[in-house]
Symmetry: C2
């Protein structure tokens, strides 16, 4: 299985188990190596030699090297706001695993922070805002921030990561969805029941739509600036869409996802920039989500991906969807469950293997290697048989 190379961000990483990877592709930063665009092709439902893999939250606390960099940064927010350190942690999982994409290291709440809400992280409590949206005048004063002023640090990180990746694998940019950002902005942080934001949605839909509308504009600007800075695909995380009723989802989340997707730059330097939309808990509305114009839809682990593929047909690629908790099982179970996801999707084009949710901080790193390598190897076998 994959080796556990210690990260060396200053130079290329050598590989020893790439017999099954496309000729000429090796991990690392060497400019002479051909680009691995498997991930981008899969998102566009073009044939690929194997199923590409990346992991939500792949640069994270389960990696000791990440914890070291974070300690050095002083805080999570300082880590996000330092382009050099954001670049360093973005590359860490690529040094360990045969991943087919990098994802910008950042937080989904950078946009509301740039709107002036004052993001901070209370120890052990997750993100909080100093000035959550509570009064009508605060809501009426909302503005879509200029990504090249308030969010320039993100664009600098994107550019620096692109340079460091040096054409090895594509870089994914991302944002929270309007509804998900609005949840945090109104609640003031995470919530058990989304009482405040749903109260507003049901009591003052006019105010809710105003927040969502301004936030959708902000997200479009933010993602397009990331694309201009070098992001080669973008993903919109609708982490809290699944807490809504079907009717409320179709009023408060889905239309704003659609607005974001339709505002995105579709091509950059002659290359398509694919988009992925992910509503956690959105399995019931999959067909609607597949109709808003994104190239791919992310799936959490609750829906069988084979059934999902039948439902969406040729409309979109699918990304997912192993339960992150499978990674706590012994390696042979990790491999077996990974194969099941690959088998369920089958030999069709348009699958990006991922977890169904961000990787847990408690994950044994060696099990990630088993999963990544199994997904690659088994998907080659399925294609050969398919």
């Amino acid at each position: 299985m994959s080796k556990l190379t210690v990260l060396n961000p200053s130079g290329p990483v050598t590989g020893d188990n790439h017999a099954l990877l496309p000729i000429g592709w090796k991990r690392g930063l060497d400019v002479s190596r051909p680009k691995n665009d498997t991930f981008l092709r899969a998102l566009l439902r073009q044939p690929t030699e194997y199923t590409p893999v990346w992991l939500m939250r792949q640069a994270g606390r389960y990696l000791p090297e990440y914890c070291e960099t974070r300690k050095r940064a002083g805080s999570f927010l300082q880590l996000c706001k330092s382009p050099a350190m954001a670049c360093e942690v973005t590359l860490q999982p690529l040094a360990r695993y045969d991943l087919d994409a990098a994802i910008l290291f950042s937080d989904i709440l950078t946009v509301p922070d740039a709107m002036g809400l004052g993001l901070y992280f209370a120890e052990g409590e997750g993100p909080r805002f100093e000035r959550p949206l509570r009064e009508e005048w605060e809501i009426r004063n909302l503005f879509a921030p200029d990504p090249h002023v308030e969010l320039q640090y993100v664009m600098d990180a994107v550019a620096e990561i692109r340079r460091a990746l040096d054409g090895s694998v594509p870089l994914i940019g991302f944002s929270g969805s309007p509804w998900t950002l609005a949840c945090y902005m109104v609640e003031g942080g995470s919530s058990d029941d989304y009482r405040r934001v749903k109260s507003m949605a049901y009591s003052r839909p006019d105010l809710m739509h105003h927040i969502l509308s301004v936030t959708a504009d902000a997200v479009v600007k933010y993602l397009n600036a990331q694309i201009e800075a070098g992001a080669q695909a973008v993903m919109v995380f609708d982490s809290w869409g699944g807490v809504l009723s079907e009717a409320a989802y179709k009023e408060f989340s889905l239309p704003y996802l659609e607005r974001v997707v339709s505002g995105l730059i579709r091509e950059r330097d002659g290359e398509r920039v694919p988009s992925i939309v992910f509503t956690k808990g959105g399995g019931l509305w999959l067909e609607s989500i597949a109709g808003i114009g994104s190239d791919a839809v992310g799936l959490d682990w609750t829906m069988d991906i084979g059934r999902a593929r039948q439902l969406v047909g040729d409309k979109v690629a699918l990304q997912g969807n192993l339960d992150p908790n499978v990674l706590f099982a012994p390696p042979e179970v990790v491999a077996a469950e990974t194969r099941k996801v690959i088998d369920a999707f089958g030999a069709h084009p348009g699958h990006v293997f991922n977890l169904g949710h961000g990787i847990s901080q408690f994950t044994p790193p060696e099990n990630v290697a088993v999963m990544v390598d199994t997904a690659h190897e088994h998907s080659r076998i399925v294609r050969a048989q398919g």
Copy 2:
């Protein structure tokens, strides 16, 4: 709208707005009044004059009279374990609202407590077990407790509530599902990610199945004892089934729900005892859930109930499914959203109106009256038109 009568558990409650209710039916404890069996008939998909209503967690902290009784009890557990006080709080919501069923006041964790795990409630932290299941020998020692020994206090409460209800509305008994109880038993309390229990399910499925098997036996005995003590319908709460993947749900939760349902007493004193199964977050698996033999399936608020009815056809009745957060909106919105649920289900038999989840402790009690009365009144109109 409904009056807000202060509870007077020692005598009948008078009604002033029952013009639309069946002749002869008034709330209260008077033995001469005919029984309101609308709820039972709806569960069996028999025609009813209106859609019956009850609320998950209807006896709860949103009612000041409940908070008073709980204070008097000293703790939540003492309240559960005192048949007289459990009876008192069970009746409280019926004194305020035109509800069509009472539900036993108890906790879903009484069964693992009776298995010796030591249930306690840490202030502000929810339920915890002193002795969660961690070691194989602990799991191998698990036993299905005799409901007439360790859980006699529950049976006493059921009998006392039946006497106090005096034939006015049916009494619902309930239990947690095997999977949901196992989650608490292995995790030791609530969990964000169900890491421990899923680790066990994936790593040691043999141990997991042993826990589920013993727990399913315990649940069958427990519910049948409730039926013998006087429960006229039973509900199984699978609160955490929705955190599983489709394959894991069909391995670790659904078969044990089926085993519970098939072990239940189906008739008592010549009357059918209907069963309801509720997997929160189970919308994606609705058709499978509808096939395990229960009379009704509970729906959380995420799935449109009209679509759910189309999917299940004539197989089962449906119970649900207003988002509890709607109750934070102004009364006219509460009424409009209630009508939408009634309209979505339509004029077919087999609907029990409920929330899609337990009522929030922060709910304004006056909005509950609006919802209950609107569901009754609007469902009569829909039937008249239908």
